[in-house]
Symmetry: C2
Subunit: 144 residues, 2 copies
DNA sequence: AATCTAATTGAAAACATTTTTCAATAAGGA
DNA sequence: TCCTTATTGAAAAATGTTTTCAATTAGATT
């Protein structure tokens, strides 16, 4: 998906800081905090303020291009997200996160809870936590 | 459930600040931030430091007696939680939150994603958002 | 290519939140 | 009642986020 193109199409300027943040996020397998993004880009000799990182993330979130990923052991981080209804599964070993598609499993649960509570559900937050294949091996294979 | 009894049973002292925080949370229908808890208790003439609120919440979370509730419009708040696997449904109108029980809907989804990703899933974060019955009425009945 | 204009930026300050430190206090067993 | 040690509170430090505003720059206009 061409995040930069989407930005322009929606009438936002394709500034240097925005390009940098997007490119960094595209390469990252883990969710990144604003500070991490800022530091990583400084080290690449991209001169941009931490403030711009915050503002870029805010904008990308508004446009639905970025998702917040919670991790009990870490500060909330940001990842680029595919359009459509996706959630993240996060590895507690290496913190890599991957998207998975929502499906009718969750729809059924929502319908059930709507009946039980009389709520009208319009959104949800779902994340799975566990160990990725690599970290499973390290946990068993590398054990004592 | 007797939260105070559980505290003592696990070898923790039943101090005044801890009692106050627990009692306040027991009465609250919305998730509360540390600051909100601190302020509310100050107004009730309970003298306790904000630091103790943080520490009490940390302890209760460790013991699994308290759950963090995320709300896109608010800072993360804390609620007492029933034991067993429960999640929260949060009203975007009045921010009241209720527990609902996890079930095999979610188990099926987890199994599916485990197959798709080869992760070993050990935990998850699930919250629903929407309108509670009261706020649904206000939204339609109170319209123009 | 040069000009223009408003969106965007960066630096500093303000603000907010969370954690650490350490002496004083108080819970609960002896 | 005394004693021990977990717990507290106040202040400071650390951390994280938002606001402000003059300077810059993307991209449309000429």
């Amino acid at each position: 998906m061409d995040y930069k193109a989407i930005l322009s199409q929606k009438g936002h300027r394709l500034s240097e800081p925005r390009k940098q943040v997007i490119e960094l996020l595209q390469q990252s397998k883990v969710a990144l905090t604003p500070q991490q993004i800022h530091q990583a880009l400084q080290q690449k000799n991209c001169k941009l303020g931490l403030v711009s990182v915050y503002r870029t993330l805010e904008l990308l979130t508004e446009l639905g291009l970025v998702t917040v990923v919670y991790d009990p052991q870490l500060n909330p981080g940001y990842m680029l997200s595919t359009l459509g209804h996706h959630h993240h599964i996060v590895c507690q070993g290496c913190h890599k996160a991957f998207e998975f598609a929502g499906s009718n499993d969750i729809d059924q649960l929502i319908k059930r809870v709507e009946k039980e509570t009389s709520f009208q559900v319009s959104d949800h937050l779902l994340q799975l936590f566990g160990l990725c294949p690599d970290c499973q091996q390290k946990a068993t294979g590398g054990g004592f």
